[in-house]
C-alpha cells in the first residue's frame, strides 16, 4: 500500500480538533482561522491520498484555492467590518464542548464500525479509506450541530463550510476517479454560496443591527 497510514490518521485527528475549535471559539476571527487551518489539513490529506492516485493532486489544488484561501478571506473581510465577538450560542461553552465531544466520539466509533453500510465498494470500507469516511461523516455531523445550535449568523456560515468540507473529503473514498469538471463545479458553488450568504448577512446587519438569527423572527407561520 502506497499510503502513509500514520500521516493520514494524524491529519484526520487534527481535522476533527480544528472542527471543534471552529465551532466552539467565541472569537469569530479565531473560528475563521481554525476553519482555514482545517482547509489546509484537507489539502494535506488529499495530497497524502494522492500517493495512490495522482489525479488527486488537482483536487488538492482546488481545495486550496476555494477552501483555504477564498472562503476564509471572505469571512475575515466580513468580520473586519462587524466585530469579532460571536452572539452567544444557545448552549454555553462547557456544555457545548461536552455535547460536541460525546457526539464526535460516539459518531466516529459508530461510523468506523458500521462504515460498510454506507461504503459503495469494499475498498472504501477498508484501511485508510475507512478512516477517511468516518472522519468525513463526523465533521459533517459537527457542521449540522453548529448550524442548529449557534445563534450568530456567521457561525452558521462556518457550520455550513464544515459541512461542505466533509463532503469534499469524503469524495476521496467515495469517488476518487470523478472528473475534475464536476469537482470544480461543486467547489466553486460552495464559495459563491458563502459569498452570497455573507452579503445578505451584511444587509441584515445594516437593517436590523444584529447578526443574531433569533432576532430574525419577522416571518413565521
Amino acid at each position: 500500500m502506497p499510503y502513509n497510514v500514520g500521516l493520514i490518521e494524524t491529519l484526520s485527528m487534527l481535522m476533527i480538533i480544528t472542527s471543534v475549535a471552529a465551532v466552539e471559539s467565541y472569537n469569530l476571527k479565531r473560528a475563521a482561522a481554525a476553519y482555514a487551518l482545517q482547509a489546509l489539513l484537507i489539502c494535506g490529506l488529499i495530497l497524502a491520498f494522492a500517493a495512490g492516485n495522482p489525479a488527486l493532486y488537482i483536487w488538492a489544488l482546488v481545495a486550496l484555492v476555494t477552501k483555504a484561501i477564498l472562503t476564509p478571506w471572505f469571512i475575515l473581510r466580513y468580520i473586519a467590518r462587524t466585530g469579532e465577538r460571536e452572539v452567544p450560542a444557545i448552549v454555553g461553552f462547557g456544555p457545548s464542548v461536552a455535547i460536541a465531544s460525546v457526539l464526535l466520539i460516539s459518531f466516529y466509533k459508530f461510523t468506523h464500525t458500521y462504515v460498510h453500510v454506507l461504503a459503495p465498494t469494499p475498498e472504501a470500507a477498508a484501511g485508510v479509506f475507512r478512516t477517511n469516511l468516518a472522519v468525513a461523516l463526523t465533521v459533517f455531523v459537527l457542521g449540522l450541530y453548529a448550524i442548529l445550535s449557534r445563534r450568530d449568523a456567521i457561525k452558521t456560515v462556518i457550520g455550513l463550510c464544515l459541512l461542505e468540507n466533509a463532503v469534499h473529503l469524503s469524495l476521496v473514498s467515495l469517488a476518487p476517479d470523478m472528473r475534475e469538471t464536476a469537482l470544480i463545479g461543486i467547489a466553486t458553488e460552495v464559495v459563491v454560496t458563502v459569498y452570497l450568504l455573507l452579503y445578505v448577512i451584511a444587509g441584515i446587519r445594516e437593517k436590523v443591527g444584529t447578526t443574531d438569527t433569533y432576532e430574525l423572527a419577522e416571518l413565521h407561520w
Binding site: 472504501a124 467515495l174 470523478m178 463545479g185 452570497l196 450568504l197 441584515i204 416571518l219 407561520w221
Partner: protein, 504 residues
Amino acid sequence: MDISVPSNLTQLVFFIPAAAGLLAWLLGRVRRAFAEALALIGVAGAFACAAAMTPRVLRGQVLTGWGLELRVDSLSVLLVLLISGIGLPATLFAIRYMRHRRLLDGDSADVTDRRLPGFYGLYSLFLATMLWGCVTNNIIMLYVAVEATTIASGLLVAFYWDRRALEAGYKYLMLLTVGITFALFASVLLYASAAAYLPGVNAMLISELQAVAELIPRSVAIFVVAFFIVGFGTKAGIAPFHPWLPDAHAEAPSPVSALLSGVMIKMAAYALARTLTIFYPSYAPLTVFVVALGGFTMLLGGVMALAQDDLKRLLAYSSVSQMGYVIMGIGFGTYLGVYGGLFHLLHHAAAKALLFLSVGAVIYATSLRSMSQLGGLGRRMPVTAVCFFIGAFAISGLPPFSGFMSKITIFMAGAQEGMWAAVGIGIFTSLLTLIVVIRAGQAIFWGNPKSADISLDAIHEAPTSLWVAMAGLAAICLLLGIYPQAAYPILNEATLSIAGVLGP
C-alpha cells in the same frame, strides 16, 4: 426504441438565456430598456428552442449534446417547455411591475431602480440554470445545476433588501444549501456504487445508472434514496423540509414568486422523479413511502394555508400542498399515477403562476397584500378578478379547469392501487384548497376595502402588459381543463420515459 440524435438545441436552450442575462446586466446600466428587452429575448429564445425540440422528441428521438452529457427525452422536453413557457409571461409581467416605484418607500425605491440591470441578469440566469438542470444527463451536474438555481435566485428573493426580504433570503440560501448537500452525498454514493458495475462507461450518466440499480448494495441504496428525498425534497418544498418556501415565495417580487412557485419547485420534483424512479423496479415499498410523503405534504400545506392572512404566504403554502399531489402521483409508480403527477405538475405551474401574477396585479394597484386590508377590488379590477378566480378554481380542482383533470387522474390511479386513504386525503385537501382560495378571492374582490389607506376611486385595472401575461396563463388553465388531450402526446411519452413504470 429511442434514437439518439446529436443536436445543438440542447445547448442553445440554456445558453441563450444565460448570455441574455449577462448582456442584460452589462447593457442595462446604459439603458434600463436594454435589460428588459434582453430578458424577454432570452426567455423567448429558450421557448423557441423548446418548441423546436418538442416535435422531434415526440417522433421518438432523444436529443443529445456534448457526447451524452446533455440528453433531452420527452420528460426533459416537458420541463423545458414548462420553464420557458411560464417564464415568458412572467418576464412580460416583470417589465412593467418592476418599474412601479410605489411598491416601496423612497429610499428603497431608488436603490431598487439602480439594481434593475442586476435583477434581469440574475432573473435570466435563474431561468438558464433551471433549463440546464432539466437537460443534463450527469448525476453530479444535476446537483450542480440545482444548487446553481439557488445561487441565482438567492438575491432575487432578497431583492427588496428590507428586513423581511433579507430574512427570507438568508433562510433560503442557508436551508436550501444544507438540504441540497444531502443530494450531493446521494449523487456521489450512487455514482460510486454504480461505477463498480459499469466498467468502461461513464457512471455519472443518469441514463446508464438505471441498468445497475438492482446491483447496488441494499444498505447503500437506502441511504441514497433517503438523501435524495431530503436533498431534492427540500428544494421541491416537500414537508417537513418546506419552512423556507413560504418566506421566500412571499417576500420575492411577484414575478419571481411566480417562477419560484410555478417552475423552480417543479424542476426539483423532476430531479426527484429522475433519481428516485431508478430504484422503483427493485424496491417496491419505496412507492408507498413516497405516496405517504405526498399525502402528508398536501395535508400540512392545506391546513397552513388556511391560517394565512398574507395573500402571498397563502399561495406559497398552497404550493406546498399542491406539490404533495405531484409527489403522490409519481409515488404510485403506475402509468396512470405518473401521468397524473406530471399532468398536475403542468397544471399547477400555470395555475400558481397565474395566481401569483394576479396577486401581483393587486399589489401593483394597492401596494397591499393582506386579506384583512383589501376588499371590493372586483368592481375596479374585473380582469384581475376573473384571472384570479380562474386560477383559484383550477387549483381547487373544479371542472372545467385544469386541476380537475389532473386531480381526477391521480385519484383514479390511487383507486386502482387500492390506496383509498391517499385518495381520501387528496379529496379532503381539495376541499380545503377550495375554502382557502374562495375565502381569499371573496376578501379581495367583494365588499369594501377594510383598510382606510385605500380608496376604491384611486384604483385602476392593471396595465395591459400585466393582464396580457395573466390572460395567457388563464387560457392554459382553461384549455387543459376543457381539452386535456392537448397535453396527451407529450405527457404520454414523458410518463413512458420515467423509469420503473410498472404497467398500464
